[in-house]
Each structure stands twice: as structure tokens, then as C-alpha cells.
């Protein structure tokens, strides 16, 4: 076990005495050399969880552990410097996450520069190595981000994270801004880096098919809390939580015969607001199997057989 969170919460105060419960008590473990996929709709808090985990957001309460060490609730500059050698992040938007006024050399070389103890020429060599490693031309290191395509920019983002040689990387929707043909290039690259560097990844995405393909285990998030956790194939092919079932049934397949056979009624309603959440199951207002108990009592994750967990009173 490399990373563990215990009832991690991140709330935002949004004025007028209101609180937005972005992440509301997430307990998760990520094993060494594992890819954990985190899926959920927009607004479910998956990016906030990733950022709170590696210290980009201060935590409201709860704990996070990395390699047995408890991570500080609020990272100081020193903490960032210390933990960024181990933990890195790849961001969703390859346009806004690269400084347009910095060259690729500055962007990718910034990390090793801050970590110190390396001369400029050493850093330059390292940047060249990593650009080639992610499939870019090292001669292009003096170019600016706008001179690259979306897929190439995402590779720059990957090189920036990997040059530190971290053990744990949070990938926040690394492929959702890319075209299908380029998505596969980036996924294969991440997979290859995971194999060769022994990386542990938290892979945040909303594309269920891709998460199933990429990750070893899958965690499904709904409105700041976990609905279900388990091995990817099991969660995808035999979803237990009513929300996961809807998510899987909503996911279209690139196969017309399958789609014609699908007898499916879309789920009614939309994800509710995470502001001032009441007690009870977060999914209760949309759940077809809702019981009285679901409205008053928040379900905890219940362990099922086969390394699976589900937060639903139906399984109590």
C-alpha cells in the first residue's frame, strides 16, 4: 500500500454561510505499482480529491498517508519541495496547464531546477532525454507551447511530471481533450512508463470504457463520496451499486448490434448540488431502489467478496 486516505474531506466555503462539500469523507487505498481509476460525473469531486491528496488543496479534515507517512493537512513550501520528488500530477487541459511564455525547456526543466544540485547543461540533457522518451523531438525544446498540437502538449505535461521520476502520479483526465487516435498514443505511453518505472497512478477520468481498460481497480465517486470500489472488470461487468449500474448502462459502446439490443431508460434527473449536503445517501433522490433508511443514514463502504466494496444500504 503506497497511498491511503482516511475519511478525507475538502469543503469550500462559498459565502453566505454556505459550504460546498466537494470531497466528503473518502477512504481509499492505492497499492504500489497499481493503477486506480477514479470515475464520476463532473461535479462529483474527483479532481478535488486528487489535488487534496497531493497537497494542492489544504484538507478540511481526514488524513492522507504516503508510504506510511502522514501528509500534512496544509502543505508548506518545504512540504511541497519534499513531496514533489515523490508525487506528481498530469493535468486535464494541455492548453491552460502550460505557461505560454515559457519554452518547453523551461517548463520541463523547472522541476529539476527547483530540486537543485544540477547544472544547466545536466538539466538540458535530462529534458532532451525525457522529450525523446515521451515521443517528442528534443530539438524542439526551445519552442513555446502554442507551437504544439494538443497531443504533443499532453506529452510535454507528461514529461514535466516524469522528469522528477516520481513514484506516484495523479493523472487528471489526461486524455479527455484529445482525439481518439491520439488518446491511444498517450494511454500506451503511460502504460509503458508505468511498467518501466514501477509507477503508481491515480487515473481520474469520466470515460468508463477507457478507465476499465487502463486501471487495475476502479473507484466510482458520486457527489463527494464513494459509491463503489473494486477490480475494474468486476465493477464494469457486474456493477453492484445502483449508481454504478446506471453509469455502465449509460455508457455507449462502439457496436451497433449491442446498441440496438440495449433496453435502457436513461436515469432521470441530474447530479444534485454539493452545497450544504444533508445526511443520508447522496444518490437517494435519483435511486430507483431508495428506502426510508437511505434518506436519513449515510451508508459506509461495506466489504463484499472479491476485494469489492459498495456504499449502499441494500447490501447491509
Amino acid at each position: 500500500m503506497l497511498v491511503r486516505t482516511e475519511k478525507l474531506k475538502k469543503h469550500f466555503t462559498i459565502g453566505r454561510g454556505q459550504t460546498l462539500h466537494a470531497v466528503d469523507g473518502i477512504s481509499l487505498t492505492i497499492d504500489e505499482n497499481e493503477i486506480l481509476g477514479l470515475v464520476g460525473e463532473s461535479g462529483s469531486g474527483k479532481s478535488t480529491f486528487g489535488k487534496a491528496l497531493i497537497g494542492l488543496h489544504p484538507k478540511t479534515s481526514g488524513e492522507a498517508y504516503y508510504n506510511g507517512e502522514r501528509l500534512p493537512d496544509r502543505f508548506s513550501t518545504k512540504d511541497h519541495l519534499h513531496y514533489s520528488k515523490q508525487m506528481q500530477m498530469i493535468f486535464q487541459d494541455p492548453y491552460s496547464s502550460l505557461n505560454p511564455r515559457m519554452t518547453v525547456l523551461d517548463i520541463v526543466g523547472e522541476g529539476p531546477g527547483i530540486q537543485g544540485q544540477q547544472s544547466n547543461s545536466e538539466i538540458r540533457d535530462k529534458v532532451a532525454f525525457w522529450l525523446e522518451r515521451v515521443g517528442l523531438n528534443a530539438d524542439h525544446m526551445s519552442r513555446y507551447p502554442h507551437e504544439f498540437s494538443g497531443g504533443q502538449r499532453q506529452r510535454i505535461g507528461i514529461a514535466r511530471a516524469m522528469i522528477i521520476e516520481p513514484r506516484f502520479v495523479v493523472c487528471d483526465e489526461p486524455i479527455s481533450a484529445l482525439d481518439v487516435s491520439v488518446q491511444a498514443q498517450v494511454i500506451n505511453l503511460l502504460d509503458e512508463l508505468k511498467q518501466s518505472m514501477g509507477l503508481t497512478l491515480l487515473f481520474i477520468a469520466h470515460d468508463l470504457s477507457m478507465v476499465r481498460y487502463v486501471s487495475d481497480r476502479m473507484a466510482v465517486m458520486y457527489l463527494g463520496s464513494l459509491a463503489e470500489v473494486g477490480p475494474s472488470n468486476d465493477v464494469f461487468f457486474e456493477p453492484q451499486h445502483p449508481y454504478t449500474q446506471f453509469l455502465v448502462e449509460s455508457n455507449p459502446e462502439p457496436d451497433p448490434n449491442l446498441e440496438r439490443r440495449r433496453a435502457f431508460k436513461p436515469i432521470i434527473g441530474e447530479i444534485t448540488s454539493p452545497v450544504n449536503v444533508q445526511a443520508g445517501c447522496r444518490f437517494a433522490d435519483r435511486c430507483p431502489k431508495v428506502m426510508d433508511r437511505c434518506l436519513v443514514e449515510t451508508p459506509d463502504l461495506i466489504a463484499l467478496s472479491g476485494d469489492r466494496q459498495v456504499a449502499c444500504h441494500l447490501f447491509d
Binding site: 498514443q185 470504457s209 481498460y213 472488470n233 455507449p252 459502446e253 451497433p256
Partner: protein, 340 residues
């Protein structure tokens, strides 16, 4: 068959500081009543420009329609003066966009925006038009429609806005609904709701849909026929089954192999399409895909392939379908043997 819209050899280019971009290079397709035609392709392949130029939504200049014809119910719709274009835009053809937030006016209530369509095209009074707008919102299953009609776009979620856009586009009972990436910005559960709504309205109104998308899974759910675009051209077209089960262009095959299929085996790695699309400032003389094509031959770089009929409903523009060309299946097997 009852053809409503017929597009032949459409060519569109844009004058920019860097030169002329040939965004659409000879696109042809027909749309018949009640069917869904999906136009699929990656960003920059010209799928949106194609439909925007049909709707007269391309700013000219810098845009210019340099060739081809398009007829709606037998009447020409290309290069019309705005007053003429307004007679079919929003009346015979409705359109919805990828980003409903920026396509609606933030300073007008949703109800007023829908009512405006009815006032302009149908000459309804303010009151009548607003009443019809509420009915349209109810038809797209917006809860509490009378109250929601008085709200502004910022008070709507993405899914609800897309419903409101659909309501607006339906105001004049169009024969064709053009949907340009209607669900790309939405979550899968909301996407399922919107797609279901479009199918339902298509059944009740007997409307044709032109669906522009990059998502093959959405195509599989929605389309009757498919046109695959690459570098400004339709490279393969046919029924949805032709495209998925009898893919005949290497690009279509490549797209399918680049996506994860939901079968239990995880070991099969994805096969990305290497490289990137050609520069449309200087479009290639030959096939647009030949630089990335694993089966490229000498002729591909020198001559543009013409559409070859695979079956009555199915066409592909690829030299591999020339009578003297090698068979793709054989090439596949040779490749497998090499790998083995």
C-alpha cells in the same frame, strides 16, 4: 427514397494570414426523410465547417464556398443573401451546438429566446409565442417548464441548456435537425438522456438528423448511415453496419482499433494511429491519409483515390479497392504472421 438534402462536391476554404486553408475538399452526401446521418471525424477534419457552410454560418470573408452544390427540397441553399437564407434557417433546418452556454444569449430568458424564433418565422404575438415556448420546453421534458421559461441561461445546467436548445430548434418543426457534437460537453448519464430525447423527437416528428460527432460509440447508438471524414473529404460512407462491421478504409479500421472494446481481455493493447493529420494549407496531392496509413502504396501519394462502391449502400475512397490492389484481409494476415 425521399431525399431532403443533397450535397455535391462541396468545397470550402478560408483565407488566413498564413495562406489559404482548404477545409472542405469535395464533400457529397444525401439525407433522406426520417433518417440519422452521422458525420464522424477528428478535430480539424472539416465536419463542422461542412454543415456550417450549408447553414450559411461561415463568415465570408475569410470563408469562401469555392465549389459544389447543396439543395434542400430541390432549392439551392448555398451562397444565399441573408434574407433568403433566413427563410430556411431555423424553419426547415434547425441546429444545435456543442456548447449551449455560448450559443444562447445570456441576457435573455430562455422562454423569450425560443419565442423570438416563433415571432420572427411564424409571426406569432408575444403572448402566443411565449405560451408555445413553454410547450416546447415541456416537449423536451424540462421540469417546471413555465417557471424555467422565465429563467436565464446561467440558471440552467449543461444538460438542461441542451434541452432548451433542442426546444428552440424544434420551434418551426424543421425537416432536418443538425446536431454539432451535441453531447460532447455532457456526462454519460446526461448524454444518454439527450440522445434518448433526440431519438424520441425523431420518431414523433419524422425528422431527419445530421449528427456531427467524433465519438464512435454515440454513432453506434444513433446513426442509420455514417459518413467518415478525414482531411476535408468523406473517405468512407455506408450504413452503420457497413462502417462498423465491414470497415473498408484503413482510417476507419484504425479508429476502431484505437478504442478500447469492452471485452474481458485487457492484454490486447490499443493500436494508436501514428502521426497527425495533413496540413490543409498544402493538402496532399494524393490520399489525405497516406502519410499515416499502414497499407500506403506508391499510387496513394500521387493520385487521389475516387469513391469505389463496396456494395449498394457502401463506398470507400481508397486505392486498396482498385481491382488490381492487394486485399486488406491478406495484408492483415501477413502482418500477423510477421508479428508472430
Amino acid at each position: 427514397m425521399d431525399t431532403i438534402l443533397s450535397v455535391k462536391d462541396l468545397e470550402v476554404e478560408f483565407a488566413t494570414y498564413g495562406g489559404t486553408v482548404k477545409a472542405v475538399r469535395g464533400v457529397s452526401f444525401d439525407v433522406t426523410r426520417g433518417e440519422t446521418l452521422a458525420i464522424v471525424g477528428e478535430s480539424g477534419c472539416g465536419k463542422s465547417v461542412t454543415v456550417q457552410s450549408l447553414m450559411g454560418l461561415i463568415p465570408m470573408p475569410p470563408g469562401k464556398i469555392t465549389g459544389g452544390t447543396a439543395t434542400l427540397n430541390g432549392k439551392n441553399i448555398l451562397n444565399l443573401p441573408p434574407a433568403e437564407a433566413n427563410k430556411f434557417r431555423g424553419v426547415e433546418v434547425g441546429m444545435i451546438f456543442q456548447d449551449p452556454m455560448s450559443s444562447l444569449n445570456p441576457t435573455m430568458t430562455i422562454g423569450d429566446q425560443i419565442a423570438e424564433t416563433l415571432k420572427v418565422h411564424r409571426g406569432k404575438s408575444d403572448q402566443e409565442a411565449f405560451k408555445l415556448a413553454v410547450e416546447l420546453l415541456e416537449r423536451t421534458h424540462i421540469p417546471e417548464a413555465p417557471k424555467r421559461a422565465k429563467q436565464y441561461p446561467f440558471e440552467f445546467s449543461g444538460g438542461m441548456l441542451q434541452r432548451a436548445m433542442i426546444a428552440q430548434s424544434l420551434a418551426c418543426n424543421p425537416a432536418i435537425l443538425i446536431a454539432d457534437e451535441p453531447t460532447t460537453a455532457l456526462d454519460v448519464t446526461i448524454q444518454a438522456q439527450i440522445l434518448e430525447l433526440m431519438l424520441e423527437l425523431q420518431r414523433t416528428e419524422n425528422m431527419s438528423i445530421i449528427l456531427i460527432t467524433h465519438d464512435l460509440a454515440v454513432v453506434a447508438r444513433m446513426a442509420d448511415r455514417v459518413a467518415v471524414m478525414y482531411a476535408g473529404q468523406v473517405i468512407e460512407s455506408g450504413t452503420v453496419d457497413d462502417i462498423f462491421y465491414r470497415s473498408s478504409h484503413p482510417y476507419t479500421l484504425g479508429l476502431k482499433e484505437a478504442m478500447p472494446s469492452n471485452t474481458h481481455d485487457r492484454d490486447k493493447s490499443l493500436s494508436p494511429i501514428l502521426g497527425s493529420p495533413p496540413d490543409l494549407f498544402k493538402p496532399p496531392v494524393g490520399c489525405g491519409y497516406c502519410a499515416r496509413c499502414p497499407y500506403a502504396m506508391t499510387i496513394c501519394a500521387e493520385h487521389l483515390p475516387t469513391a469505389t462502391a463496396i456494395s449498394e449502400s457502401h463506398e470507400a475512397s481508397c486505392w486498396l479497392h482498385h481491382p488490381t490492389a492487394p486485399d486488406i484481409e491478406e495484408l492483415h494476415q501477413m502482418e500477423d504472421q510477421d508479428a508472430g
